[in-house]
């Protein structure tokens, strides 16, 4: 019988995408649908003096214009995570209004929505809305935002801090260990701001059906149920059972489509006001200005080593920008998703991280592929490579010296870190060994030395990362400030004919759930993949769910489905035993049938399914039907890890960096579909490389974004990137039924420091010890001249 787990099964979702038949939100047209456009602030910080909508309102084809002075002005979108100050003061949490009323706090903040018969008319009319502003000074850098006298984002508080936070060992103990260390490596840099840039811009259609008193919101989201909850219970205060959220096909997310955005709530509210459906699709300029960004940490770090090169202590202070308002997960990103990874893959005995998180006159910063872990990994991996150089050691050797020894989490316990977590299983030296082998590290060092003699600048950079994903045990995150549980729901409905419909709260926006989930469901039930359908992205079909982010779909969502399959097989066995006139204990289930041990008496899954729905000859007292829904709440995070190695050539004349090779050896636990895992790694790696070499969101001193288009924001293109060389080791996760760890973010976490380490390595003989990301030709050239 054909099995599917572990095979590179081609994706069943591909045909519709390849034929141009995807169902993205902007592809949907509803009867009587109107279109909308926003009036957005050109100022980063201003008082609104007046808004005049009369001309727009009177334009032919305009259906309605709303501003913050209308009823919607009272509503705001909530934050989903609370991180209080170290001294116990509650997190400062401003209202994030659907439309700004009096004060503007970032460029692109919406002031009015114009609804019209066509998109063109809506945009024309938006230009007729007259807003008078009084511009005010702005602050966009998180460190400057905390300086005395900095312009304030929210006047009601004495300074810009939303909270401060620390984790790890006692600061004084860490400082003392640093003072006594044999060697201390120090770095000051910015992990700069980047824009997620899913190629599909955000798009929403809201409609209200007065006859059944029901709202439908089509939205390009990663988590339909979470949006429904936030929209109903917090933003608008409307009944949850009267709202349906639909997100069929979504063109990439990378975190930016997790959050509940103001436009979603405003369109939903307005659709009832005007009694017609309303569509809004962001254009790219709006996307740059209004989609939540990633990173933006100002970092100062010290790491102490003993004579042998063992890390003795690590102390870091960071300023992490949050933007003007708190986005859904924002407070968690520079704290619980970041500081908890400061152990890395090393045995560091003393760690302390202190974070100050201020508001800034910018769009929000929230989780972007990796969310907090790339920032932690960048810090550790740059520090390790810098320290190796300073101590005249090989960067691989320094890592081997400091690795946590291998442990499987079954016969050996998990590893307890200094920063709250317990790693599940790991073999960190294994991935580095394999990575070096894939690269041919020693040969490369010879080649590098040779090349240098000829004036050619080659460099190699290593990064050995760990990340925490499979997000997350509800009780743990609850204790850490999450305002929601992070379980997942898996509903398996066996149809009378034995065909299976699976409803998952996870959501695919490129990850291939329709294929991968069907693979393991088919295997566990011993049926054909064609007999399994995967349904997601519709709150009226799927009971509940928390969605897809934090590399959680398979480890959390998949586990919930497995729980339901277990219940189905358990009930099915009762029916089978009855039909076969055998004891349940005497049955085995394999290849889609129950067989009485040692006999050829059997009954198929299909026959048992039919019996469950036509229960004429049926076990006494057993309910008909074969349909189970389960919640799975993980007992721990999962901890994928790996080694990424980059080889670069730096042009001695121009400073241009060419990425010559990229080697990735990742361990994501068991693998359901290697083709898809490789694809996740490739994509993640290139996003990480993008941050290292090309991408940066730049705000000027007045808070204007000067990288607000694809002409100014440098996304990686096909000819910036070589083929990615991938391999894997497999250390199963010990605490979920599939043994999977998650692969969605790994690429973006490991790659960035590997690339910067390689550039610095190429220039080390010139005395270069660090270069600020993105390492553009200009920065490299400057570093070479100094």
């Amino acid at each position: 019988m054909e099995t599917f787990i572990g095979k590179s099964i081609k994706r069943r979702e591909d045909d519709r995408f390849l034929k141009g038949a995807g169902r993205y939100t902007d592809d949907i047209k509803l009867k009587g649908m109107t279109h909308s456009a926003f009036v957005r602030s050109p100022y980063a910080h201003a008082n609104i003096i007046s808004i005049d909508v009369s001309e727009a309102q009177n334009m032919e084809g305009v259906v309605a214009v709303f501003t913050g002075n209308d009823a919607c002005g009272a509503f705001g979108v909530p934050c989903g995570w609370q991180v209080d100050f170290k001294n116990g003061e509650t997190m400062r949490e401003p209202l994030h209004p659907l439309l700004a009323k009096d004060v503007i706090r970032h460029v692109g903040e919406a002031v009015a929505i114009v609804i019209a018969e066509t998109q063109e008319l809506a945009r024309d009319a938006a230009e007729l809305v007259k807003v008078k502003y009084k511009g005010l000074p702005a602050v966009t850098d998180p460190k400057k935002a905390m300086e005395a006298g900095a312009p304030k984002v929210h006047d009601q508080w004495p300074d810009n801090a939303a909270f401060d936070w620390c984790i790890g060992n006692d600061r004084a103990a860490v400082e003392a260990a640093l003072a006594n260390a044999h060697h201390v490596t120090e770095m000051e840099y910015k992990n700069h701001r980047v824009a997620p840039n899913a190629i599909e811009p955000r798009s929403y259609i809201a409609s209200y059906d007065v006859n059944v008193d029901k709202y439908t919101l089509y939205t390009s989201t990663q988590n339909p149920h979470l949006i429904r909850l936030l929209l109903c219970a917090f933003a608008l205060g409307i009944p949850e059972h009267k709202v349906r959220i639909v997100s069929y096909d979504v063109g990439g997310g990378f975190g930016s489509k997790i959050y509940h955005y103001t436009e979603e709530a405003l369109l939903t509210w307005a659709s009832k006001e005007i009694g017609r459906p309303i569509k809004w699709t962001s254009d790219r300029s709006e996307a740059f200005l209004t989609d939540a960004h990633g990173r933006d940490h100002v970092v100062h770090s010290k790491m102490g080593f003993d004579k042998e090169g063992k890390i003795v202590a690590h102390l870091t202070d960071e300023y992490c920008a949050l933007g003007a308002y708190l986005s859904t997960f924002a407070p968690a990103v520079p704290t619980y998703l970041h500081g908890t990874l400061f152990q890395g893959v090393y045995t560091t005995p003393l760690i302390h991280l202190n974070v100050v998180a201020p508001f800034t006159h910018t769009v929000a910063v929230d989780a972007y592929r990796g969310a907090g872990r790339p920032e932690a990994t960048y810090l550790l991996e740059r520090m390790l490579s810098k320290a190796a150089k300073e101590m005249n050691m090989d960067p691989a050797e320094l890592r081997f010296k400091n690795f946590i020894p291998p442990f499987d989490g079954v016969t050996q316990p998990g590893f307890q870190t200094q920063v709250a977590l317990q790693y599940d299983s790991g073999n960190y030296e294994g991935v580095l060994k394999r990575g070096l082998e894939m690269l041919g590290y020693e040969d490369f060092r010879k080649e590098q030395a040779e090349a240098r003699k000829n004036g050619k600048l080659l460099g190699v950079g290593i990064s050995t990362y760990i990340e925490g994903c499979g997000i997350a045990p509800s009780a743990v995150v609850g204790a850490l400030g999450a305002r929601a549980g992070l379980y997942e729901v898996g509903h398996v409905r066996v149809q009378p004919t034995g065909k299976v419909s699976v409803f998952t709260g996870a959501h695919s926006h490129g990850q291939g759930h329709e294929t991968v989930f069907a693979q393991f469901v088919a295997d566990k039930l011993g049926i054909a993949m064609d007999d399994v359908d995967i349904v997601h992205g519709d709150t009226d079909q799927v009971a509940f769910g928390m969605g897809t982010y934090g590399s959680r779909s398979l480890s959390v969502g998949g586990s919930a489905i497995i729980k339901s399959i277990d219940k189905i097989l358990e009930k099915g066995a009762k029916i089978a035993a009855h039909k076969l006139e055998a004891a349940e204990e005497d049955l085995v289930y394999a290849e889609g049938k129950w067989t009485v041990k040692g006999t050829d008496k059997s009954i198929s899954f299909g026959d048992v399914s039919l019996t469950a729905y036509v229960p004429h000859d049926y076990p006494e007292g057993l309910e008909p039907g074969l349909d189970f829904s389960s919640f799975y709440d993980p007992s721990n995070f999962t901890y994928p890890f790996g080694t990424h190695i980059a080889v670069v050539e730096v042009c001695a004349d121009t400073g241009k960096v060419t990425l010559q090779r990229f080697v990735a050896c990742d361990d994501v636990g068991n693998v359901m579909n290697p083709m898809i895992v490789d694809g996740q790694i490739h994509g993640g790696v290139v996003q990480g490389v993008g941050q290292a070499l090309l991408e940066e969101v730049v705000y000027d001193d007045e808070g204007q974004m000067i990288t607000g288009s694809y002409m100014d924001y440098a996304m990686p293109r096909a000819d910036d990137i070589p083929m990615i060389e991938t391999d894997r080791t497999v250390t199963p996760c010990p605490h979920n039924p599939l043994g999977v760890k998650g692969a969605g973010e790994a690429g973006a976490i490991g790659s960035t420091p590997a690339v910067v380490n390689a550039v610095v390595d190429a220039l080390a003989h010139l005395g270069v010890t660090d270069i600020q990301m993105p390492v553009t030709p200009q920065r490299v050239w400057k570093a070479m001249q100094n």
Partner: protein, 154 residues
């Protein structure tokens, strides 16, 4: 303004506003939503279609400019349920994840292979320079096009 054009072999005639882009016309008026819009600066290539046999970014052309032309969009590539060799290459080599850039990638790939049936990896990458993919890291897109080249040359 009245315009007439042949799209995927079928003739369409519409009265359109002169300011409407070809991409909008295809999506909104002709209802061919396979052509996607990912930017406003001709930067992403999601909107790529063929006009009289050459790949162009349909977001930067006005519909009225291509009056009388023959257009092929992603919807015109497959032969019923049978995928075009390029589409097949993308499926075979996992050249798509979220699928949003995919129509533009396939149309650009067709243009690359039309002008150069045996492209090297570097030539493929250069040919894709006007198309963003944020999901795949391009690796499998390159392999998909190599697969298609082999198929088409066989």
């Amino acid at each position: 303004m009245q315009i007439t054009m042949k799209i995927n072999g079928q003739t369409y005639s519409h009265d359109v506003e002169p300011r409407i882009s070809l991409a909008q016309y295809l999506r909104e008026t002709v209802d061919l939503t396979g052509t996607h819009i990912g930017c406003d600066t001709s930067g992403c290539g999601a909107c790529t279609v063929h006009v009289d046999g050459a790949a162009v970014k349909s977001c930067t052309l006005l519909a009225v400019q291509v009056n009388g032309s023959e257009i092929t969009t992603i919807e015109g590539m497959a032969n019923g349920s049978e995928l075009h060799p390029i589409q097949e290459g993308f499926k075979e080599h996992h050249g798509l994840q979220c699928g949003f850039c995919t129509p533009g990638m396939v149309m650009t790939a067709a243009d690359i292979l039309k002008n150069n049936p045996n492209p090297s990896e570097a030539e493929i990458r250069e040919g894709l320079e006007g198309n963003f993919c944020r999901c795949t890291g391009y690796h499998n897109i390159v392999k998909s096009i190599q697969h298609a080249a082999e198929k088409l040359n066989a």
